[in-house]
């Protein structure tokens, strides 16, 4: 059975950093892992220290633009599937798929319907799928990925960040997607704001699965545009994310 983990949250809260550190943990075991960057503002490849030159969005456009030029009886699903496999970035420790740009005008019903089937088959090949998603949960509503086991909502200490976490939880219920568990991860936690964060979380009825401390080395690497994937073992953030991973049974 494939375990599917999605990470979301307000922009700037550090969800991509948390995704990267979770992936770092996962690849140390012999699990076969697929990482999906489902945020149109593609950041994950950079924090992972790899490049992604083609995206699912590009392939969807290709399917839209070329459909009338393809031979009439050609099997479009199999062309689409093959193209998606081409965009898979096959790295030694894991595979990476980037969703990329949002849809253009026109009707994507058919393309998305094909994509759902292809993604279902693809994800079955992995032990764990870990997905970095934008707060709007567009790919949830399109159901391109179904049946999420654990949704992690990353928030910083601010009331607004927490508010977003609350709204995302509500949105998930409205979208009627199959999400088994929702957890909240507080990020950029300091000794000073720790208590307040826990208090706010309690008030909003949010379940905190972990409090990831502010880690200077992350900020430094962010500034320098360096990858986070190879942070040292003793990084405070790495240690806390590993604890979260254990709680999630990863």
């Amino acid at each position: 059975m494939t375990k599917i983990i999605a990470i979301t949250g307000k922009g700037g809260t550090g969800k991509t950093a948390i995704t990267t550190l979770l992936l770092r943990h996962l690849t140390k075991s012999d699990k076969v892992v697929l990482a999906i960057d489902a945020d149109p503002d593609t950041n994950l490849p950079e924090t992972l220290g790899c490049e992604a030159d083609r995206t699912i969005g590009d392939i969807k456009e290709y399917m839209m633009n070329e459909r009338d030029n393809m031979p009439p009886d050609i099997n479009k699903e199999s062309i689409f599937e093959s193209r998606i496999y081409e965009t898979l970035n096959e790295l030694p420790d894991y595979d990476l798929l980037v969703m990329g740009r949002p849809e253009g005008s026109g009707c994507y019903c058919y393309v998305n319907n094909l994509l759902r089937g292809i993604m279902d088959r693809l994800t079955e090949n992995y032990d764990v799928v870990i997905m970095d998603m934008e707060a709007g949960l567009e790919h949830f509503s399109r159901k391109t990925i179904r049946n999420i086991d654990d949704l992690l909502v990353v928030t910083d200490g601010s009331r607004r960040g927490m508010g977003t976490a609350e709204r995302i939880s509500e949105l998930v219920h409205e979208l009627e997607t199959d999400v088994r568990n929702i957890h909240v991860v507080a990020n950029k936690v300091t000794e000073d704001n720790k208590e307040q964060i826990q208090k706010t979380a309690n008030e909003l009825g949010l379940k905190l699965i972990g409090l990831v401390p502010t880690d200077e080395s992350i900020a430094e690497r962010d500034l320098a545009g360096e990858a986070l994937y190879d942070l040292p073992e003793d990084s405070k953030a790495v240690i806390e994310v590993e604890r979260i991973a254990v709680k999630l049974g990863l």
């Binding site: 076969v32 009338d68 009439p72 099997n75 005008s105 009707c107 019903c109 058919y110 693809l122 079955e124």
Partner: protein, 465 residues
């Protein structure tokens, strides 16, 4: 028999993906060349069960390597004919994926195959076992194949030499499929993907009519319905022909009734004014009747200006969409312009008077030569008056209709007003949808009143001067 092979064979393995780390060799694919081809042959030309290998076999290949790869199957049998080649060829994809440790993607000269390290460890050291398994499956699953012979090629020069022949075969097949028409099949396909927001929409896909969104042709419908008959694309038995010209079939009407929950019980596939196809909201282009010239204009979503009737795409799309059947407006997929049956019930291309320039250019190859320069674009006209002048000046066939109508009008005045029974449909929920009335003769107005009580002492109908 399956136990003779050094691998398991089951549809269970169909979704199996071979990752780069786990792969022994990659064959053909985006970074190499190759193809798959099924050829119908005479009984005497096929040695049943024979396997030919040209080029290095698996045991001669380097681990982690990439090689060109072509697969040719010659099939023979009393019922085997050229038309079956592509159907059989498609099964090569399915059957190769049934083999554990083998991944087959795409088709024709885009095939992409990977063999896993595990499979090689278990004894798949020659293509012979793979080819034999495929030949066995061909004969078991497609009983019309009486004899089959396989040739696998990994020699680059040899593949390049045969590539032209393969491409010519594919092209000949495409030409045949392009010549497939509504009258050649007994099944159409329906699609309900749009029903989430257009609940009464009835999308009927035929060889001569692509889906309104432009994404699904008849072959796509057939492929999807075969895999999942209960899915969003499904078969519609054509039934009896009621009228071939306008494209009315009993099977389509029955499906329309059930899909629209009784809202519509007649759909004429190639009609614009009378019982046209419903329009979902996804359509690429909307057609609009222009009563002032008795012609039809078309506007697509990329055209941001106003059509000669003063309305932009968005306004007309809003009026047309929602799964309604509205005479006077029609949503279509761009490829429908290429259909030989394109609104043939209403005169086809001879009824088309206006299109945006970029749309006209896009389908220019399919516009009949004698009409092409008579269809106005935004570069020629800006409103109804200039459109009318343009049509007159170019002597568009529609002008003949005006003359005829004027004659008819002259005689009509003396007749009883029976003929004026108009044919415009006004859905009760969308009173604003009423397209302008045709000036006379053709079309007319039909008014449907639902749950209405009408008591009238006197009705006067006058022509609007």
């Amino acid at each position: 028999m399956a136990e003779d092979f050094p691998f398991e064979i089951s549809p269970m393995f169909e979704g199996e993906r071979i990752r780069k780390n786990d792969m022994y060799v990659e064959l053909s694919g985006p970074k190499s060349i190759g193809f798959e081809l099924v050829k119908a042959a005479e009984m005497d030309d096929v040695v049943d069960g024979k396997f030919n290998m040209i080029g290095p076999d698996i045991q001669d290949m380097e681990e982690g390597g990439r090689y060109p790869f072509a697969m040719i199957y010659k099939i023979a049998g009393e019922l085997v004919e050229e038309d079956l080649e592509s159907i059989v060829e498609r099964r090569n994809h399915d059957f190769q994926n049934y083999i554990q440790g083998l991944m087959h993607l795409n088709q024709r000269y885009d095939v992409w195959v990977r063999l896993s390290k595990e499979a090689v460890e278990k004894g798949v050291t020659s293509f012979e076992s793979i080819a034999q398994a495929i030949m066995m499956l061909f004969k078991n699953e497609l009983p019309f194949i009486e004899k089959v012979e396989a040739t696998y090629i990994t020699d680059k020069d040899e593949i390049e030499k045969l590539m032209d022949e393969a491409k010519a075969k594919y092209k000949a097949r495409d030409d045949r499929t392009r010549n497939l028409h509504d009258e050649d099949v007994d099944t159409f396909y329906g699609c309900t993907l749009c029903q989430s927001f257009a609940p009464s929409n009835v999308c009927v896909i035929t060889p001569d009519r692509i889906s309104l969104c432009g994404a699904i042709n008849w072959f796509d419908g057939r492929a999807a319905a075969k895999v999942d008959p209960e899915g969003p694309q499904f078969a519609i038995p054509k039934g009896d022909v009621i009228d071939e010209e306008s494209g009315e079939y009993t099977g389509v009407n029955e499906t329309a009734k059930s899909l629209s929950s009784g809202e519509y019980d007649r759909i004429k596939l190639h009609s614009f004014l009378d019982h046209p196809h419903t329009s979902c909201g996804c359509f690429e282009v909307v057609g609009f009747y222009i009563p002032e010239v008795d012609g039809i204009g078309w506007v697509d979503r990329d055209f941001t200006g106003a059509a000669p009737n003063g309305l932009p795409f968005s306004t007309m799309a809003g009026q047309t969409g929602g799964g309604k059947q509205i005479s006077g407006f029609l949503g279509i997929g761009i490829n429908y312009f290429r259909s030989p049956k394109f609104i043939q019930a209403d005169g086809g291309w001879e009824r088309v008077v206006w299109m945006p320039k970029h749309l006209k250019d896009r389908v220019s190859d399919d516009i009949p030569d004698d009409i092409a320069d008579k269809i106005a674009t935004e570069e020629d006209v800006s409103d109804l008056e200039t459109l009318r002048n343009f049509l007159e000046e170019k002597n568009h066939p529609i002008v003949n209709r005006w003359e005829k109508e004027e004659e008819e009008e002259a005689t009509e005045e003396e007749e009883t007003p029976q003929q004026a029974a108009p044919a415009m449909q006004m859905p009760a929920s969308m009173p604003m949808n009423m397209p302008a009335m045709p000036t006379s003769g053709s079309g007319g107005v039909k008014i449907i009143l639902k749950n209405a009580k009408v008591s009238v002492d006197k009705v006067i109908i006058k022509k609007n001067e």
